[in-house]
Subunit: 203 residues, 2 copies
Amino acid sequence: MTRSLTWLPYFLARLEVTVTVLLCVGGASAASVCSAKDVSRVRKLSDSPQHSYGREGFVHVTVAGAVLHGMTEVEVWLQTFAPSSQTPIHRHLCEEVFVVMKGNGTLLLASDSEKHYPGKPEQFAVVANSTFTIPMNAAHQVWNSHPEEDLQLLVIISRPPIKAFIYDDWFTPHTSARLKFPYFWDAECLKTDLNDTYTFDEL
Amino acid sequence: MTRSLTWLPYFLARLEVTVTVLLCVGGASAASVCSAKDVSRVRKLSDSPQHSYGREGFVHVTVAGAVLHGMTEVEVWLQTFAPSSQTPIHRHLCEEVFVVMKGNGTLLLASDSEKHYPGKPEQFAVVANSTFTIPMNAAHQVWNSHPEEDLQLLVIISRPPIKAFIYDDWFTPHTSARLKFPYFWDAECLKTDLNDTYTFDEL
C-alpha cells in the first residue's frame, strides 16, 4: 500500500503530461492556443506556435498579435517562404513594413489606384537586410525567387487583426477580390461576425 | 568653341557630384536627409543613416519612419546597444514591440499605474530571438546587461512620430517626467510646435 501511494503522484504527473501532449498535438490544440491570450512579458520565438495554414513551403509565427497577445495597434509576424513559394496576391487597408531577415525574393506591386483591377505589377528585387513598405490598399505579392534558399521576413502591420482581399490574378477586378477575414492565422481563435464589427470603408 | 561646349556638360556633372558630396559629408547633411522623404520602394539597411544622438554605445537606424519615409501608423527602428548602454527610463502612449536580434539584455518595467511615480521596476531577462511588448504608458528601460556583446533590437511602435516622457529615475513623479518631442532621431527633420499639433491626452 505504501508503495502504491508513493507511486500515485508519479502516475498523475505522467497522466498530466500525456493529456497535455495530446491537447497540443491533437485536434484540440485550438483550446490550448485560444483559451487565454499569451501575455508572458518575454516570449522566445522558438516556443511560439508555427503553422503553414495549408500553404506549401510556408511557415508563419505570430510574434506579437491582436488575437494571441492582445495587441490593438500593431502586429508582427515572422514568415519563412521555401524556394518558389509566395503570398497570395492581396491588398489591405493598413500599413505594412517588411524587413528581410534572410534570403532573396521579389516584390510584385500594383499601385495604380485608377484602374478597376491591379494590372501588371512592378517588380522589385528584395535581399537580406533590406526593407520595403506597401502603400495602403495596393495589391501586392511577395515571392521567394531564389532557387535554393529560404526567404525569411519580419512583417509589421497596423490595424490588426488583418482584413485582406485576395485576387485570383492581377487582372481580377478589385470588386471581385475575396475578403479573407479572419485571416489564416487568426481564424482558429477569432470567431467574428464581420458585419457586426466593421464597415466596408474600414476594410 | 566646339571643344568648350563639349566639355561643359562634363564640368557641370562633376560640379553636381562635388556639391552632392559636400552636402552629404559636411554640416549640411540635414538638408539632404530632410529635404525630401526617402520613398524608395526597397531600401538596404546598410545604406540607411546611422546615428548615436550623443548616447555613448548606441546606434539607431530608422528602418521605416514617419519623418523620413512618410509612415503614419507604424514606425520601425533597428537599435544597437554596446555593453552597459541603455535607453532612458521613459514612457509613451503607443504600443511597442521589441524583437531581440542579437545579444542579451534586461527589461526594467514599472507597470503599476496607481502610483504617482514608476516605482521599483520588475526585471526581465531578454535574449536573442525573443520578443517583448510594453504596455501603453508603462515606464520602462532596456539595458544591454552582457559584459562583452552588443544587444541589437528591432523596435516597432504605433502612432509615430514618438512622443516620449523621460524620467530621471524610477521615483521621479509622472508629472515631472520631461516630454522629449521631437525625439532624438526626429528632431533634425521635424520642427513642430507641439501645442499646435497634440493635446495632452494624445501624448
